[in-house]
């Protein structure tokens, strides 16, 4: 599973990353979290509000910090 966190390093981006990490550990999923911080790269996903969560190339969350429960549902699909 390819997981990407898009954001320019704001506190909310770090919160979203921390929540995602927790889910990976709890579900014992093999997955790598990659941080995308370059604005041009972020734009190429079509996202304008940050932070955003991209799973296998698809934008799942944009502009808010999802909680652990929501990310869990997203990743276990």
């Amino acid at each position: 599973m390819q997981i990407k966190i898009l954001g320019t390093g704001c506190p909310n981006c770090q919160r979203l990353e921390a929540n995602t990490k927790k889910v990976l550990e709890e579900l014992k999923l093999e997955g790598k979290i990659e941080k995308v911080t370059e604005i041009a790269d972020i734009m190429s996903y079509g996202v304008m509000s940050m932070p955003a969560l991209v799973v296998d190339g698809a934008v799942k969350i944009s502009g808010r910090v999802a909680d652990v429960k929501e990310i869990k549902e997203l990743l276990s699909k």
Binding site: T8, A40, M43, G46, V47, M48, I61, G63, D67
Partner: protein, 321 residues
Amino acid sequence: MNIFYPIQIFADWLTYSVFNIIPKTLLASAVNFFIFDTIKILILLFVIIFAVSLIRSYLPPEKIRNILSHEKKYVGNILASLLGIITPFCSCSAVPLFLGFVQAGVPLGTTFSFLVASPMINEVALVLLFGMFGWKIALIYIISGLMIAIFSGMVIEKMDVRNLVEEFALNGAGENIELPEMSWKQRTDYAKNYTLDIVKKVWLYVVIGVGLGAWIHGYVPTDFLAHYASADKWYAVPLAVLIGIPLYSNAAGVIPLVGALTEKGVAMGTALAFMMAVTALSLPEFMILKKVMKTRLILIFAAVVGIGILFTGYLFNWILK
């Protein structure tokens, strides 16, 4: 009955019974004013920000871009300005919004209408205006802000400034996307978190602003500033705009302060122009926009919006006299 009446009772009780301040003194009036206004504005902030962020969860920037990239020029300017009201804005989101819009084919003028309306007409400013001056002034602010945003966008579109936008901004790979639907609980969670974030950020400014206002309200004689800033002083409006430009981050504290200043003789149009300059013309935002456009375009942008604000200031000084 005034819905804020219970707060007034509480403020009276705290001032006269708890703090034991003798009524009808300057100190009593300042303390009472401070307690009442702080509580009223904080309650309004919670309610309004929550409501606006709930609406916003249905219209995130990605969806707005989708709408705007299909609109014709003039309708686009109007829609962009209206949608700008519910979109929060900080100088950090200026670049992603600008790039996202332009790359998905939203016309430049429409993008600028949005860039003007989004910071200028925001829920924090509106709550404070409503709290300090009542709904009429808040409505005047919304309508004239919309007009400035719509016309600035149209003027910039007419000037054909595409060559002043950085190459990479026009040729990037941004595109329209569909975001997954959110559940009702996700929306309310988002609104709750966002409201807490903003209130945490602005409450201190509100307290300081209202505090200064209360002090001025109680201790500075009425008409103290009339000599320098009444409606017949031509230089008051441009001066207010110039002072407003570097004050962006303190909009929450500036408005309560302005509330007190108008009591002491600053004309309403001048005060409106000042608030618009504080919110719409921001030095940090200009610095950040340099990444995506040439300095000349930023200057054009600032000048067009600035002229609109000056016009509004003079207009309301003349009408509300």
